[in-house]
C-alpha cells in the first residue's frame, strides 16, 4: 500500500466511516446524532479543546472545576448499638462544612450521659461532631480540609441506650465516595 493519500475533493463518504483498519468509527447512519464508537460499536470518548463558546463541547476539567466547590451532603443512618459506621472516604481535596445529627422516629430508650454519637476519622474520632442530643437536631460547624483520602466514620457509644436510631448528615465540598 502506498503511503497516505489525500484527496481533498472528497466531500462525501459512507454514513459510517472507520478510522484505520480495526479502528474506531464515526457513525452517521442515525439522522438524529453522530456517534463515535470503537470497532465493537461501543461509545468512545472524544478528546476536545477547552470549550469557549456556548455551542462548544466542554472538557471534563471544565466540569470538574465547577463541581469541586459545589456543596453537597452524604447521610448515614446509625442505630444505638451500631458501633463504628462508615460514612465514606474523602478525596485528597475535600472540605467538610458541617455535620448534622438527628434522632430518628422513636426515643433513645435508656440513653444516659455516656450515650453519644461522634463523627470523625481514625485520627480524631470527634473531629467533625460530638455532643449528640436525642431530643433535638444538633449541628457542628467545625470546618476541616482533608488533603488526603480519609475514611469518615460515625462512632456510636451506646451507654445505657437499648433502642434508638439517628441520621448523620455530612455537608462537604469535594468528593466523598
Amino acid at each position: 500500500m502506498v503511503d497516505s493519500v489525500k484527496n481533498y475533493g472528497i466531500a462525501g463518504v459512507s454514513a459510517n466511516v472507520e478510522l484505520g483498519k480495526g479502528g474506531p468509527q464515526i457513525v452517521g447512519s442515525d439522522s438524529s446524532k453522530i456517534s463515535l464508537q470503537d470497532a465493537n460499536g461501543n461509545a468512545v470518548v472524544a478528546a476536545v479543546a477547552v470549550g469557549t463558546d456556548a455551542d462548544h463541547a466542554v472538557q471534563k476539567s471544565q466540569l470538574d472545576n465547577i463541581s469541586q466547590p459545589k456543596m453537597q451532603y452524604v447521610k448515614t443512618s446509625v442505630n444505638y448499638n451500631s458501633g463504628n459506621v462508615a460514612i465514606g472516604t474523602t478525596s485528597s481535596n475535600t472540605y467538610i462544612h458541617s455535620v448534622v445529627v438527628e434522632s430518628g422516629v422513636g426515643s433513645w430508650t435508656g440513653a444516659d450521659s455516656n450515650t453519644n454519637i461522634t463523627v470523625g476519622d481514625v485520627g480524631d474520632t470527634s473531629r467533625l461532631f460530638t455532643g449528640f442530643d436525642p431530643s433535638t437536631q444538633s449541628k457542628d460547624e467545625s470546618d476541616h480540609h482533608y488533603t488526603g483520602a480519609t475514611q469518615l466514620n460515625a462512632y456510636v457509644t451506646q451507654g445505657g441506650a437499648v433502642a434508638g436510631t439517628a441520621t448523620v448528615t455530612v455537608w462537604y465540598s469535594g468528593e466523598i465516595s
Binding site: 481533498y8 461509545a43 472524544a46
Partner: protein
C-alpha cells in the same frame, strides 16, 4: 453498493458528508463541527469522559447539576394570610429559612401577630409562632434541616393580630432536583429587593 475501504486515505474535504444527504463533519483551523444535513448543530454520542481533556456527556453534566443549593424567596404582607411558597420534589432537603422583617410592624403585638413557615403537613416546621418578634426590625434564621421523603409543599401563614402595617421577606435555602415556585405576584419584588448585597466584590 459495495463497501470500499481505503485505509491510506488520510485527507478529505474540509466538509465531509456521512452518507447521502446525511449529517456532516466540518473542520476549520479552530474547530471541528458536527452538523445535520440542514446545517444545524448535530448531537454527538460519546462515552463518559474519564480524563481532563475529554468531552463530557449530558449524564455527567446532569450529575453535577443535580442537588444544587438554591433558594426561594417571597415577600409577604402583615395581612397576607397563608400561602404556598413552592412545591419541592421527594428527596429535597431544606437547609435553612430566613425571615427578614425590615421594619417593625405597626400596632402589632408580638404574641398575636406572627409569621409561621412550614409545609402543608406542619405549618410551623421551620419557623414557629414564637420565633419572630414582628414588632422589631431584624433577621430571623432557622437552621433546622428537614428532608422530604415525598413531594412537599412549603407554606407560610401570617397572623396579623392587631398589626396595621408591615411586611417581611421569607427566604428558603434548599437542596433539590426540582422546585416549582408558585408565583403569587410578589416573587419578583423579593428578587428586586435583594438585588445588591453590597459586599460580594470586595
Amino acid at each position: 453498493m459495495a463497501t470500499v475501504k481505503k485505509y491510506n486515505l488520510a485527507g478529505v474535504s474540509a466538509n465531509v458528508e456521512l452518507g447521502k444527504q446525511g449529517s456532516y463533519i466540518s473542520g476549520n483551523a479552530s474547530a471541528i463541527g458536527f452538523y445535520t444535513s440542514a446545517g444545524a448543530l448535530q448531537k454527538l454520542a460519546i462515552a463518559n469522559a474519564t480524563v481532563a481533556t475529554e468531552a463530557v456527556t449530558k449524564a455527567q453534566l446532569d450529575a453535577t447539576a443535580g442537588d444544587l443549593i438554591q433558594h426561594v424567596t417571597v415577600d409577604v404582607e402583615y395581612n397576607g394570610g397563608s400561602g404556598n411558597i413552592a412545591t419541592v420534589a421527594s428527596g429535597s432537603r431544606i437547609v435553612s429559612v430566613t425571615v427578614d422583617v425590615p421594619t417593625g410592624w405597626a400596632s402589632a403585638d408580638n404574641t398575636t401577630s406572627y409569621i409561621e413557615v412550614g409545609d402543608t403537613n406542619n405549618g410551623s416546621r421551620f419557623i414557629r409562632s414564637t420565633d419572630i418578634d414582628v414588632t422589631k426590625s431584624g433577621q430571623y434564621h432557622s437552621q433546622y434541616q428537614y428532608e422530604y421523603t415525598s413531594q412537599g409543599t412549603l407554606s407560610y401563614d401570617i397572623t396579623s393580630g392587631s398589626a396595621s402595617a408591615g411586611n417581611a421577606t421569607i427566604s428558603v435555602v434548599l437542596v433539590s432536583d426540582s422546585v416549582t415556585v408558585n408565583d403569587y405576584g410578589s416573587i419578583n419584588q423579593a428578587q428586586n429587593s435583594n438585588s445588591d448585597l453590597g459586599n460580594i466584590s470586595s
